[in-house]
């Protein structure tokens, strides 16, 4: 049982790290900014997710008590990460960062008034 759970923990650790790494590879490797943006904002999210599952399992097993505060980290990240991505994309658009595709513009008029 312990070995199986340990295996599970190990799996999630490596899976999480792998997604984090892939996200960063995406950030480093992809050709234009908007594409690069996809790597981190998702792979990293799942990367942390994997770690959190590992942590939850690990500490629940070790501590004889249900460890759930990992859920909180996940919730906070899921709440906030989209805002970062959104603003990054928006900032890039504002900066007129090069993009190989058209940006449909009619629908995004500036919002000056609060």
């Amino acid at each position: 049982m312990a070995t199986a759970l340990e295996f599970l923990v190990a799996f999630f650790l490596i899976a999480g790290a792998a997604f984090a790494l892939i996200g960063s590879i995406g950030l480093a490797r992809l050709g234009d900014f908007y594409s690069r943006l996809h790597g981190p904002t998702k792979a990293t999210t799942l990367g942390v997710g994997g770690m959190l599952v590992a942590s939850s399992v690990h500490f629940t097993v070790r501590g004889n008590d249900f460890s759930a505060h990992e859920l909180l980290v996940a919730a906070f990240l899921l709440l906030t990460a989209p805002v970062s991505a959104h603003l990054l994309a928006r900032a890039a658009l504002h900066l007129q960062v090069y993009t190989p595709v058209d940006v449909p513009g009619e629908t995004t008029t500036p919002d000056i008034t609060p």
Partner: protein
Amino acid sequence: MTSARLFPQPMVSVVLFAVWLLAANRFTVGLALLGLGFAALIPWYTSRFWPDAPQRLRVRPLAALMALLLYDIVVANLRVAVLILGPRSRLRPAFFVVPLDVRGPFTITLLASIVSLTPGTVSAAVAQDRRTLLVHGLDVPDIPHAVRQIKHRYERRLQEVFE
């Protein structure tokens, strides 16, 4: 004193209470009572910042949505991983506009967030009139399909949860 006055934003209070217990990572009566106190006090102050916080939601559609989301995130993550590691020339990135049916600002926010959280798409801008969402896709061979996907899988379910 009615419970409405005690908990002006019951949803928020519930979430806060849950977060409190999660953060404490253990349960005692004392902690719970303290958490209850904060769950009552904090919305009492913050409601002026967020007066239109959702007052209620449907639990079953929410659960369904979350399950779907989890599934989508995992699956799409794998797909995107392959895309990232594969040759760059295979990518077909595109911006596209998603017309919105949801109206509430918070719901729109949630939709945009979901779009961003699921791999392969990022919501880049919400129009001033809040009727369209500008989305960037990493690999979008078929834009109308992508739009339908978002509206069908997420927007509809969101409406079920909140509206």
